[in-house]
Amino acid sequence: MPPRIRIIAIFICIFLLAYVFELVRRKHLNEEYSLGWLVTGSLMLILSISEDLLIWISDLVGATLFTSTLFFSGLVFLMIICLHFSIRISALTNQVRTLTQHLGILDYEKRTLESVVVQNSLAKNPSVLEKL
């Protein structure tokens, strides 16, 4: 692999790892969601540094260019991360749906109870009506 692309790849991976750590430190990214990025960044960094490993994987997948192997690996990791996010979004959507439904029902029950309490208060003490 040409040294220039290797240096650029190493810099990008180090920047990605440092940025993810910083996001977690500032509480802008949950630890749960940082895992995929940290694993991806670390593996890409290892591939960029270790030429032997890159050659072995290139032979394995039949790639003629080492840079293709690097991009291909990055693409596979991103696909895994996107799928993971889709699963999480589906779970969150279902949770929001359930919360929405129960919130609506609870709001209805609250309004019904309020009207019952007001009616009972009026029945016991009609002077409340004058205050209202």
Partner: protein, 274 residues
């Protein structure tokens, strides 16, 4: 008593569908033999509504005339207009969702409410006036008297002259035939939202297996796979006054979702408890 109610309304059921105005003697609630307390106990009518201020009043008025004692629950699906206000004024219970969540989610909310409050029969209908309230008694009688779990009002059974666009007819034809094939019985109207459900079918709709977006042919196949007994009866449906559909603008997604949902429904094993 219920028979008397039916006989009293039998002329209205076959009258001009547009002529929903009651005759003077019918307009007095005390003159009508009310069905819910006699023949239809623990029954709830669920209507999901989104920005239906123009139609919801007429729909609730129609229900009040045809089935005055059956409680009506309107699920206000994040409407920005006067839908909840009009519904309350017409005597309906109103559950308001904090934001627009879609037809299936709103409908499922009604079933969760029904399950929580001990209703054993639920009739669902649309808020846009497509479903003729004069068939409510027909549907409830069918589900009460027969050994059925779900009764579906079909606009294509009998000669009711329902007209729609070519694309909609094509979709209904394809999904209707698929549903008929997998259910082993004729499904003439796979997109009908005019349905009555009872017992465990209510539990099923309120549960996790219900498809919350566009429950149509996949829902009917699901019911069959889960062992529920369904039957279609002829009803009259009117064209939507605003000419809008819940699938508007999302036709491609609807077709994709329906095919995918049917396939995974067929691959899914029947869960325990049904």
């Amino acid at each position: 008593m219920n028979k008397l109610y039916r006989e009293k309304h039998s002329n209205a059921l076959h009258a001009d569908p547009v002529a929903l105005e009651p005759s003077p003697e019918e307009s007095t609630p005390s003159s009508v033999i009310t069905p819910s307390l006699i023949g239809f106990p623990n029954t709830l009518i669920v209507i999901p509504a989104y920005n239906e201020e123009k139609n919801i009043g007429k729909v609730l008025e129609g229900i009040r005339r045809c089935a005055p004692e059956i409680p009506v629950l309107v699920i206000n699906d994040g409407s920005r207009d006067a839908t909840p206000k009009i519904s309350r004024e017409c005597g309906a219970k109103v559950i308001s969702l904090p934001f627009n969540s879609g037809y299936g989610v709103a409908l499922q909310t009604g079933f969760i409410f029904a399950l929580k409050n001990g209703y054993t029969t639920v009739l669902q209908m649309d808020a846009d006036g497509q479903h003729d309230p004069r068939y409510i008694v027909d549907m409830l009688q069918e589900i009460q008297n027969e050994n059925l779990d779900v009764v579906i009002g079909s606009r294509f059974l009998g000669n009711n002259g329902y007209k729609t666009t070519f694309l909609k007819r094509l979709g209904m034809f394809i999904f209707g035939n698929l549903a008929s094939l997998f259910c082993g019985q004729k499904v003439s109207d796979p997109t009908s939202g005019f349905q009555a459900l009872k017992g465990k079918a209510i539990q099923f709709v309120a549960g996790e297996y219900y498809p919350p977006d566009y429950p149509d042919a996949d829902f009917i196949i699901m019911l069959h796979r889960f062992g529920f007994k369904t039957r279609e009866i002829p009803v009259i449906m009117h064209p939507s006054p605003d000419n809008k559909s819940m699938h508007s603008g999302k036709t491609i997604y609807y077709v994709f979702k329906m095919f995918l949902s049917i396939i995974v429904t067929l691959l899914r094993q029947k869960p325990k408890g049904f």
